[in-house]
């Protein structure tokens, strides 16, 4: 039999129909829905008088345009308010499961899906959001789609697509304490560029992946889109099953055993092929920080801004007010942010709190810590993290996308410089005129204390714990 990798296996298991010269009709198992990219898709259903094909394969929540202050029910922006209300109305009319504020499961789509156990190995998962690759951490093919395609999935449970190429990214070695999955994926993007994986689905493999928690794997897969990949995934293993067991939509009893047997069969065959393979050794990797206006413009924290003469880099340097050969370390900051679908999970809250414990952030820094979901918030509260974070002078807020994209109340002011655990440092991404430096939550927390960009490594002991 032909040797197959996990991408081939999951893809092939979802082909409803493949005609010569046509894209495949690909069955979609799970579609996440949020307020920004769904209204026009529901309109399509109404215009064509079509029902939702399978309401139980959908899951909706609000995240992008909502406020994260305490009284978040009150949305001051009239358009955002109408958009949120529209989702409430649409999910009601079409009978789509909806986790609204205070349902105890509201949050960023990519945090909520896994935590409810809807995200499972071997699935095809879509959402009108480019960071859908997050769900690939469970061994699913998960990718972002536009609103028209959301409409197609609503109506038919399928979409049309040509099979992407496959790429293996192997992370070898072991991280030094204080270096994380975020740093690994930023290194990958810096190496291959923002278009480096265009047209490919990535399978992440290697020793560094095996030892990663599910949270870390989600961080890694999340940023696959930043090197242009259609999706990124990791084969399921014990960590995956341990995470899923007991979650709301995870199978139970006999069905659980059947599921594990199927999921195990999805692993890539030994000697399978990929269209491309890249190997990155993480043993000597340092924490990464972006310096420019796209995620590829990033360096290790002890490096200086490279000499690059293309227009793109020159424009970027003008925008971020930095220059060639300048060290990125010690760059003075105004804002800090931990949150988003990249780093808004419980582990991220834990590492942030551990670094902030019994310390104060620098006086001139405003630091928002925003949980990815109501579940993350509840757990952070149980573990006493919220108090620790607030006592440091940082502000723990309500769940949502917050400062990740500059479309709700949380924005970095024009000209201000923010170190951020998010995934994009595009011009104006965190608000018009804002300057973003991407980094891991550990780097963000350490830098917030210092008031400038610093490495978090000093906070970690040899065992990788924060002393």
């Amino acid at each position: 039999m032909k040797k197959e990798n996990i991408i081939d296996k999951v893809w092939n298991a979802h082909i409803v129909q493949q005609k010569q010269g046509h894209p495949a009709i690909l069955a979609i198992d799970f579609c996440l829905v949020h307020e920004v990219t769904s209204a026009q898709a529901f309109d399509t259903l109404r215009e064509r008088k079509l029902p939702v094909f399978d309401t139980k394969s959908l899951l909706a929540t609000v995240d992008h345009s909502i406020p994260t202050r305490k009284n978040r029910h009150e949305i001051f922006d009239e358009m955002a308010k109408a958009q949120v209300q529209k989702l409430r109305d649409n999910t009601k009319e079409f009978n789509v499961p909806f986790y609204d504020m205070d349902s105890s499961h509201q949050g960023i789509v990519h945090v909520v899906g896994p935590e409810l156990g809807m995200t499972q190995p071997g699935m095809t998962i879509v959402c009108g959001d480019s960071h859908t690759a997050t769900h690939g951490a469970f061994g699913a093919i998960a990718f972002g789609i536009g609103t028209s395609t959301v409409g197609h999935v609503f109506a038919s449970g399928c979409l049309l697509m040509n099979k992407p190429k496959t790429m293996q990214v192997e992370f070898t070695g072991e991280f030094q304490p204080g270096v994380t999955a975020k740093d690994a994926v930023m290194k990958l993007i810096a190496n291959i560029g923002i278009g480096g994986a265009n047209g490919h689905i990535i399978e992440y493999t290697g020793s560094a992946i095996e030892s990663m928690s599910m949270e870390a794997r989600m961080t890694l897969c999340n940023m696959s889109i930043e090197c242009g990949a259609v999706a990124g995934l990791i084969a399921p293993d014990k960590a995956t099953y341990d995470y899923l067991k007991g979650k709301k939509y995870a199978p139970t009893g006999d069905s659980w055993n059947k599921a594990i047997a199927y999921w195990e069969s999805l692993k890539s065959d030994s000697d399978c092929c990929y269209d491309k393979t890249i190997i990155i050794d993480v043993s000597d990797l340092n924490p990464m920080v972006s310096w420019g206006t796209n995620p590829q413009q990033a360096i290790e924290i002890n490096q200086t801004i490279p000499k690059n003469t293309d227009d793109m880099s020159k424009n970027a340097l003008d925008y971020v007010k930095l220059s060639i050969n300048q060290p990125i370390k010690d760059t003075k900051l105004d804002w800090a942010f931990v949150g988003s679908c990249t780093n808004g999970r419980i582990e991220d809250m834990r590492v942030t709190a551990a670094i902030l414990k019994d310390k104060k952030i620098a006086e001139h820094i405003t630091f928002y810590v925003v949980p990815g979901s109501e579940q993350v918030m509840a757990q952070a509260d149980d573990e006493g993290l919220i108090d620790i974070i607030n006592s440091s002078g940082a502000e723990f807020r309500m769940p949502g996308c917050s400062m990740c994209l500059g479309m709700n109340d949380d924005k970095v002011p024009a000209g201000s410089r923010c170190i951020s655990s998010t995934n994009r440092n595009f011009v104006g991404r965190q608000g018009t005129g804002s300057i973003t430096h991407l980094a891991s939550p550990a780097t963000v927390a350490a830098s917030a204390i210092a008031g400038k960009i610093v490495s978090p490594i000093a906070y970690f002991n040899q065992a990788g714990e924060i002393a």
Binding site: D29, Q40, Q83, S148, N198, G228, Y249, M407
Partner: protein, 196 residues
């Protein structure tokens, strides 16, 4: 969808690479729930520069955009495609496009034409030095300008949809019985959602 067979008119040279979707349409304009009204905000961050190419009146309603590699990278927001279409642009020529943007373009009859870097560079030169009129023939997959003819590839299926004004959703719905059968089998073999 409207059938499109030919696109003809002035080409806009936007000589930049990696134009991302936050540049095409910033997130602050995404709170609208309608499919229109985005054109006025297209490229708004670049428009504050008086030298930006789209600030030149000769390019208002120009139907073809020539631009650099990896156009449309970033977010999945289809609003980016809607905004560009509202500017009157029906075709984009570039060395490469980001995947989600390319998929979204297809759903809206925005024709993306991939050409090698050196060809795109030449088109930039020509369009920057004088008004460049291109004739794009979808059926024959050619671009004509002056005496030159360039060829381009389009997926067979997309071309079929484009010249016949067909819609992907119609195609999917015409296969709905197959889809239902498929999904039925899946539930007993390979899907394990606990639906309660």
């Amino acid at each position: 969808m409207k059938a499109i067979k030919k696109i003809q008119g002035i080409a806009i040279p936007m000589n930049m690479t990696d134009i991302d979707t936050d540049i095409i349409i910033p997130a602050q304009y995404l709170t609208s729930t309608s499919q229109t009204g985005y054109g006025q905000h297209a490229f708004s961050r670049l428009k504050s520069d008086p030298d930006f190419v789209l600030n030149q009146s000769k390019y208002s309603q120009a139907p073809i955009l020539i631009t650099g590699a990896n156009f449309g990278c970033g977010s999945s927001r289809e609003h980016a495609v809607w905004a560009i279409k509202e500017l009157g642009i029906n075709a984009i020529i570039a060395p490469s496009f980001a995947d989600i943007f390319a998929n979204n373009a297809k759903k809206n009859g925005l024709v993306l034409i991939q050409q090698p870097q050196d060809v795109v560079d030449k088109l930039f030169n020509d369009a920057e030095s004088s008004e460049l009129i291109l004739k794009i023939d979808i059926e024959n997959q050619t671009i004509q300008y002056y005496e030159n003819t360039l060829e381009f590839t389009l997926s067979e299926f997309f071309k079929h949809c484009l010249i016949n004004g067909l819609d992907e959703l119609d195609y999917l719905m015409s296969n709905i019985d197959n889809i239902k059968d498929f999904k039925q089998k899946q539930v007993s073999n390979s899907l394990f959602i606990n639906r309660q």
